[in-house]
């Protein structure tokens, strides 16, 4: 097969198909299909699945569970619902931002590097739509990673220690079903700062045109902010650091629900995500696609 030839019976497409811009959801759906087709997508999701399983396995093999500063640590063997809370606590600082950044940092830069950006930007879809689809796909991936991790942690925890009532941060005992709802609500709440991390990753991916630099950069920013938060004497700015918002979900695990940290997290994270996405959007619209 080395030839290009129209067979005798092969008709060429009729000229002049009328222009019809496809909806952004079409591009979004294809962004997800691209993610599903790439092996590296499963690296992050694999971590989101493996870490809770490893955690539960270690705890099952380990027989001393009556210590720990966090109220949920002392409940590990009493209720399987303590496991997803503890996993969110452990993974929220580094692992989940890393997993989210794996795709967010790659989503534009990889296409630029592979030359496929020019392929899709010469079709009937506008640059703004392509950008929106990519950003939405990165956000979707981050949400899937978080809820996948929560689901696996819950299933493994319940399988190991039962579906029992759990005591919240305020010392209130809630039923198992209410506890389950709170677990997933807490994970949903954690998406607020995580989406800000994703936005930073998308910005770096767009600006640097280098996947590795974008992934490392996004994680690096969160680590840097985490370190800054430890510096004594900056109490005034600490509430506005992105990493401080990672624990806003604690408010949901109190009775009555403490909404203040959640609302605070919402607007603080919007201050990170909004400008980052806006800048990435403008750069993407105006950039020269000279690669590939």
């Amino acid at each position: 097969m080395s030839s290009i030839a129209a067979p005798a019976s092969g008709r060429l497409p009729a000229h002049g198909a009328r222009f019809k811009r496809p909806p952004t959801r079409t591009a979004y759906r294809w962004e997800l299909r691209k993610l599903v087709s790439q092996k590296r997508t499963y690296l992050g999701l694999g971590l989101a699945v493996a870490l809770p399983l490893i955690f539960v396995l270690v705890q099952v093999l380990h027989h001393h569970h009556d210590r720990g500063e966090n109220i949920f640590e002392s409940q590990i063997t009493h209720s399987g619902l303590a496991t997803p809370v503890l996993m969110l606590l452990f993974l929220s600082v580094f692992m989940l931002p890393l997993i989210a950044s794996l795709v967010a940092g790659d989503v534009v830069a990889a296409e630029d590097g592979n030359g496929t950006l020019k392929t899709i930007l010469t079709r009937s879809i506008d640059r703004g739509q392509v950008f929106a689809a990519k950003a939405l796909a990165a956000l979707t991936y981050a949400a899937i990673a978080v809820f996948l991790s929560a689901t696996v942690a819950t299933a493994a925890g319940v399988a190991a220690w039962g579906f029992n009532s759990v005591t919240t941060y305020s010392g209130t005992v809630v039923s198992a079903s209410e506890g389950l709802l709170l677990v997933f609500a807490a994970n949903g709440c954690y998406l607020i700062p995580l989406f800000a991390v994703v936005s930073l990753g998308v910005l770096l991916s767009t600006v640097t045109r280098n996947s590795t630099a974008a992934v490392v950069g996004a994680v690096g920013i969160t680590i840097l902010l985490f370190i800054i938060a430890q510096i004594p004497g900056i109490e005034g700015i600490r509430p506005y650091l992105l990493t401080e918002q990672y624990e806003a979900w604690h408010g949901l695990l109190r009775t009555p629900t403490d909404w203040a940290p959640i609302w605070h997290s919402l607007w603080v994270c919007a201050l990170y995500a909004g400008p980052a996405l806006a800048a990435a959007f403008l750069v993407f619209l105006r950039r020269d696609v000279a690669g590939g």
Binding site: M1, I4, A6, G16
Partner: protein, 328 residues
């Protein structure tokens, strides 16, 4: 879309990368039905010009319009009826050829998905359509690039070095396909550095060098401007050369191993043949020899002694009334 608009019109197109002037005030006009050759050595600015035409990069100065629409102002709508690729066509290696086309068809809309089987047949990739593109040869990717372009049922096809990397049979078939597309009324803008390909396919050309257009117009006009050459074989070449040297209108007559070569208009050639007869020299062969595109290309793209390049146009009136310079 304005149906009567010119397929490609570039005016004063400039692209500057810091100190590097990649494209220097390029004017182009591709007319409906043209198979338009965009010729130039590597690094001449061809691909940069095509990227600007497709809206992938923004011009530093000037404008380019496709069927009357500027990609910088009209976005994807400017590409209505336009398809093609610049440099090598690129696809998602982890998707099959068919999946790649499905993706692109989804981004095209307008019934493109219904044409997937048809275009796969045309480029003879149907049997390998379910294989991942990562395993495709370079030639197969070129063919997939053509298929992806045809999905849009374009009226203007922009192809950047489409035969690069193809084997001789693939190159021949690519030329056949382009000829067939042109025969069905499609306008083709073909960037190439393969002179035989352009000479065989194109009716109009632009030759660029160092970012500047050094010729734009009909290929036939270019060859005419290159000067009509003749080759003469006689029973006595030495005497014939002496007669030719004295004959009016005969220029650059010289004897090489294949006979006597000279330049002249038809009237001068007629008078020379009579003079040879009067001089007792028999003519064995007298044949016109038009300059090849290759000759002309090198004359236009190689700098003359002053470091200046030749610039001309099909109208025969070079910019600023400059004479056509074709000296090496």
């Amino acid at each position: 879309m304005a149906d009567d608009a010119t397929p490609v019109r570039a005016r004063g197109l400039v692209k500057r990368y810091k100190e590097v002037l990649a494209v220097d005030h390029v004017d182009l006009q591709v007319r409906r039905g043209d198979v338009y050759g965009f010729l130039g050595p590597n690094g001449a600015g061809k691909t940069t010009t095509l990227r600007m035409a497709l809206g992938l990069i923004s011009p530093t100065e000037g404008t380019v319009e496709l069927f009357g629409r500027d990609p910088m102002r009209h976005g994807a709508r400017a590409l209505e009826g336009v398809a093609g690729f610049v440099e090598a066509p690129r696809f998602y290696p982890y998707l099959s050829g068919r999946k790649n086309l499905e993706l692109l068809a989804a981004l095209d809309g307008a019934g493109a998905a219904q044409r997937i089987d048809q275009v796969l047949e045309i480029v003879e990739l149907a049997p390998r359509a379910h294989h991942r593109v990562g395993g495709y040869s370079h030639g197969m990717r070129q063919r997939l690039g053509i298929a992806a372009a045809l999905l849009r049922a374009p009226r203007l096809l922009i192809l950047d070095e489409p035969a690069t990397g193809l084997d001789p049979a693939g190159m021949r078939d690519m030329r056949m396909l382009i000829r067939r597309l042109a025969g069905e009324g499609m306008t083709v803008l073909l960037s190439s550095h393969l002179l035989p390909e352009v000479q065989e396919l194109c009716d109009r050309v632009a030759i660029v060098d160092s970012g500047r257009v050094v010729y734009e117009g009909a290929l036939a006009d270019l060859r005419r401007q290159g000067g009509a050459g003749y080759r003469l074989r006689t029973t006595d070449d030495a005497r014939a050369l002496a007669i030719a040297a004295d004959a009016p209108g005969i220029e650059h007559a010289h004897n090489d191993h294949q006979g006597i070569a000279f330049q002249a208009d038809e009237q001068a050639v007629a008078e020379l043949s009579l003079a040879l007869g009067r001089g007792g020299v028999g003519i064995l062969a007298l044949a016109p020899q038009l300059a090849t595109l290759e000759d002309l290309f090198f004359r236009l793209t190689e700098k003359n002694g002053d470091g200046q390049q030749a610039r001309t146009s099909a109208a025969g009136a070079p910019p600023d009334d400059e004479a056509l310079v074709m000296s090496r």
